[in-house]
Symmetry: D2
Subunit: 335 residues, 4 copies
């Protein structure tokens, strides 16, 4: 995940990697040696040579992209925010904390001001903003336009998640070759609570979660990149299929208006092919920032069923944090 | 699928392969040459040498196991039934026909007498019995014990199906390596209507479908054998998790009482491991005839969610037909 | 393979797709409907709407890119060459024909004049040029710089080939998931004879094959794109490892000098990582036109052993033909 | 690998698991909890409940099956041998030690008396016997019958090895899905030196390695079980293909004569199918103890080329050690 940050920040018009930190073992090493680079594009030369710093705010820049395991993040992220950093985090550690915005810029940019309620902000001007879990984000991008127009009443989602979501080394090959693992620790819980916070309303000093019922089941499959989800929903307002498809295809929000560098032209794209979306063919849509939707059909239990696909390490992780940072910058939060 | 029949019938105590037929191209060839044997066990020597017959009832034995594509089955199966054969079919062609029993021996053996309403039966003593689709059968084995004790009100299922369910050559490797395909033609429709027929009631000359609401979504994944399904249900009667698990583990039916040769000791087995069932580890449970269930949890939308796994070419196809034939024999329908 | 042609020709500075033909079944259909597009990039809009023509020279353009099965190519390619077309073929049909150049532009551009000995050329100005098999081309790109400096005496190669080399639908998923297939029809034979023709010398009216001994074994593995090969060689002249690596990294030829649009900056690149090259990480090197080499070590039997990797549908097929066409154009053969 | 031992020893006629030891972390735990059982057959109940002992000879039984990482084995195996145990090891630690027999019972049972030269033997009656690496053993089983009849002059082997050879968790799924890794640490070196020791001659107090030239290259592929190898050989004596095939198929040795419980009826089996052997279809031949060979053809460089397949965790590890123990018992070394 850290590697995706490096990759996406290469040639970024607004941000530049100026400081890298990791666990004690890699401190003092050049990045190229500390990281076992696993991406298809070459490791950026400038970054390859940068020396890993200790993971403390001393000498750290003002904006920190954090891609830490939850346990470590729980301990370290507050330290950086307290020290005055703008912490843009992909970790789950602070996501559900009352005063921390959990943001998808196209969905709930209006939650950003929650920052002002953070004690860190008041003390040091530092703050923390988080993005959702990789399996939540594609779902919520597909749900948001429908919730806005037709109001969600019920959501059920079953995921088939790529192995890259588990980090590296992550899932053992013996566990996933020719297999499905019907369990990812705490994943369904995250999806359920994060979806409701993201689609909730900012109300004074907190977020009132969206009131719809939500249930998720999460599976791991032998896919490299791209989380596929089979979703069923019930809507409060009656909708025709072409209205639903239009709601997806026409969906634009602040990142598109502000022309944020990492914002896709089209956040949600409906594919008409009967067997789409598929990770192999569609995961890189919108440079990995567009959520693909397909197979809209009537559901015998709820109202509608459909399939979504979202790139889990771009839109679902590094790209999510980066777009959050771009939104913060555009709104003047990065000084 | 025909190969699984050959494999399962080798050393069968009651039945012996005495006649093989296929499409025109293989007529007259020895079976070993007509079939491209794809199973791990060796092709039985006696069968390897048998000559492929033309696919007509002339010279055909009294019991026919049919594993044909639906389009061909639609045309040929009635010919055999009309000619006096006991047609035990795995095809979808006749499954939903009003007077044809669709049977899982543990679930609805009491539908068998529907045979007596068939015109073939009256004319020639021939008849047809079918088994469900590979993605239906594991689901219904898991649902039946719950329906009996607690009555189903709603069922939602999302499948992750193995490639062997598509026959050979079936799914192209370029389509499934590292991929999920969210579409299998007519599969969700079959699951929905078959489930309701299987759990329905024989009422005079027909089956009254079970009245619960049912919705399915079907995906293909890169697994060789074993369909995994994420299921959510609502029950009419209140149940405790331990009662549900007991309903599964204690479930026994006629095939077990009659000690049918292919009947598993335990048709449904609950696995307590947090990440089970998995195709790689659990698909061969009960020689491929036991449906594994795991991960029973509360569902925020319906009542309960869980994961099932069933061997799609054994319990879901050849083994299903074979167990039907054994039930018919035990009940005296095979003369 | 035809799809890769379409993809690579989109935005090509010299060539434009103006005519598409295929087998009878697709004649008259728009391309988008005739082809089942399997690539990650979108089908170019202009081409999607083009109508498929009958596969005859009537109305065909002067330059034909041909990606046909060998049996069909054997029959149809001569028809186009006889009709005055410049036939740039990826098929094996004419590759070993005495008067047809088999060309890798970096390796044996000097074989191109063989065109002048073709009867088609004399009669109609039409001609045929071919590129090698996908498993040959990466190997020969790695061998050519060594042959030039140190002279090859013996070559042994074992391939691990991607499924995309078999076309679509190609290899059945049941055959390759979790498997290795140690057989690809005629593949080893092609590699052996093509390698010797490519590294042979134009001598009057024909090619004298390179005289070294060559043996190949070909395997199919569960990889989407990228043929990996374990190679051992014996050289006539003594070489140090750093000289061999320099021979690879410094290798440049006419396509680079002429700045042909599809020519990679570096045709062969040595990777120093102990576990490289790997299809997942390195197949797209040089936009799929660079052959990666790694793991150079002493061989106990011959002199040296190493691993190569080459993109089989870009450098090994469509990109190969395209680079041939660019070379022909630069040399004035395309009028 | 330890799990395969447990699996193969269940119901063994001669041996019974009476003691289990592992690293400090699992000491005192029941085996079912210490091991994360990854095999398709159920964990044997009796063993599941056994408590893990500290890894010291105190309380250890006379025969020890050892499946340790080389570094740990290097330190611990001598301790057990010194304490009087018969150490039957699958580790590489002692394999190349001058006084330790490296044995495949069908190939070099006559190396067993080397035990008598071990200092441990003299001091405490303890001793150590080892089996080869998983990639060596299938190869040597295929080479031995040819070496005996026709004498090997040169051997080249390229492996495509299953992930289970790397233990658990072993290879990360992100590294191997859709990939080939052309590197396994120290693997080629082991294959080269072990092959020569196995086919060498016991000469006084040591083994004189077989004098043929041998070169190996090792690759990891996305296969669960079964190492496939593309092999080329040169023989001193002229051989016809049918003689070579007969040498394989007729090969029998002491384990077959002595009817050792784990000995396969046929140690090497030639498959005539043009695309065999394949891991998916042939790996379980002879309950995983038979090496399959196929595709015998003339080699343009050496004399012959062919493909072999061997089960890497049965014949290549636990089954290898077990067969060694059975041979030792039959020969009276186990008291």
């Amino acid at each position: 995940m850290g590697q995706r940050f490096i990759q996406l920040l290469e040639d970024h018009p607004w941000f530049e990697v100026s400081w890298l930190a990791a666990s004690d073992r890699s401190e003092g090493k050049p990045y190229a040696q500390a990281a076992r680079w696993r991406l298809k594009t070459a490791i950026p030369e400038r970054v390859a040579k940068m020396t890993m710093s200790p993971a403390t705010p001393v000498g750290a820049p003002k904006i920190i992209f954090a891609a830490l395991d939850a346990a470590i993040a729980q301990e370290m992220e507050p330290v950086f925010a307290a020290a005055g950093c703008a912490l843009v985090s992909n970790s789950s550690a602070l996501r559900m904390q009352k005063d921390v915005p959990l943001v998808i810029p196209e969905v709930n940019a209006e939650h950003i001001p929650l920052i002002e309620t953070q004690a860190w902000r008041k003390a040091s001007r530092g703050f923390a903003v988080t993005n959702p879990n990789c399996s939540t984000i594609g779902l919520v991008l597909a749900l948001a336009p429908l919730h806005k127009r037709f109001e969600l009443e019920t959501v059920m989602a079953v995921t088939m998640q790529a192995v890259s979501g588990a980090g590296y080394p992550g899932v053992a090959s013996l566990d996933i070759l020719g297999n499905v693992i019907p369990y990812i620790a705490k994943e369904a819980e995250k999806m359920e609570e994060e979806t409701q916070k993201l689609l909730g309303k900012l109300n004074g000093a907190g977020i009132v979660p969206a009131p719809f019922a939500m249930s998720a089941q999460c599976n791991r499959v032998a896919v490299e990149d791209g989380h596929t989800e089979s979703v069923s929903i019930r809507l409060k307002k009656k909708a025709q299929p072409e209205e639903i498809i239009a709601a997806w295809n026409d969906f634009r929000a602040e990142p598109q208006t502000l022309r944020l560098p990492s914002a896709p032209d089209q956040p949600v794209m409906y594919l008409h092919g009967v067997d789409r979306p598929q990770p192999r063919l569609d995961v890189e849509s919108g440079a990995g920032m567009t959520t693909s939707v397909g197979r809209l059909r009537k559901c015998n239990v709820l109202d509608w069923k459909f399939t979504i696909l979202s790139h889990n390490t771009i839109r679902g992780a590094a790209g999510a944090a980066l777009l959050n940072a771009e939104l913060l910058k555009a709104k003047g939060y990065l000084g």
